[in-house]
Symmetry: C2
Subunit: 143 residues, 2 copies
DNA sequence: TATGCACCCTGAAGTCACTAGAGGGTCAAG
DNA sequence: CTTGACCCTCTAGTGACTTCAGGGTGCATA
């Protein structure tokens, strides 16, 4: 299987597949006479795994750990659970942050009654003298 | 005002202030005899504006547009509103994506009953042969 | 046989919004 | 006169890719 086909069936871009090889996430495949990458079923399985984990929002580092765990069939499932649970907690934190942000922005937009810039409530809220948003999470943003 | 003080009052890191100057978001200030940056009130106002907008999740490009609009006092407030509304829509999309992700991940974690890796439901779901998540948003992820 | 076209290759640089580090200079206090 | 906080420039690193330049391969068609 050439890179294009493998990319297609896994809904990955060709460049991304090569990138995964470059960072050691996907082992280098055999090559054809013409120097094309020739993938087998193991590569396909591994790339599918990576894609599914990425779709669930796991970082490449987490994916690497999951792959290691998956290969170590004696290891404890709890390790996988811990990784996933931590990721879930991250997502929950992000959702809370986003919700707060959303409310601040929405109320700003609500206060806009049109007209010229000079009277723009949105800009006013950004300008100095205005109270900074009470729920601002300074310092850490949208990691 | 030296860079450290301005960074402090705007809750920005010194490096970030220099970075904003480097990318042209903040005009280069005067320098003292010792080559220290010497900021005035205009710089402070502009940096505050940038910080507030960033706290609301606007990209640096969007911040640049907002600053341009704020300077063009004849322009229509609708332009600001459009920028903000588009940003709000982005946030809403992100929240929906995150919520979907969260549910998929949570149900995966729920299905984990402990035990050894061989029986790990979480890994099973990632492995080929498993149905890919029905709500996967392939192609665009967590922009 | 030539040519076009889709596909493949490498290596380097660009994206976003910073952050970190090396290696040094300035300035006020003690 | 030294200590220490602060400042300077320049460069490179982060994550997860994407894009680009400059080519090579392989198959079908004129």
């Amino acid at each position: 299987m050439k890179i294009g086909e493998m990319a297609r069936v896994t809904s990955t871009r060709v460049e991304t597949v090569r990138y995964y090889e470059q960072i050691g996430l996907l082992p280098p495949p055999a090559r054809t006479a013409g120097n094309y990458r020739a993938y087998d079923e193991d590569h396909l399985a591994r790339l599918s795994f990576i894609r599914r984990a990425r779709d669930l929002g796991f970082s490449l580092d987490a994916v690497r750990e999951l792959l290691d765990l998956a290969n170590d069939r004696i290891a404890d499932c709890a390790a996988v659970d811990a990784l996933a649970s931590q990721h879930l907690a991250d997502i929950d934190r992000k959702m809370v942050d986003l919700a707060r942000l959303r409310e601040r922005l929405a109320s700003l937009i609500d206060s806009c009654a049109g007209g010229v810039i000079t009277d723009c409530r949105i800009l006013e809220a950004l300008e100095p003298g205005a109270p900074s948003g009470s729920t601002a999470s300074r310092g850490e943003r949208d990691a």
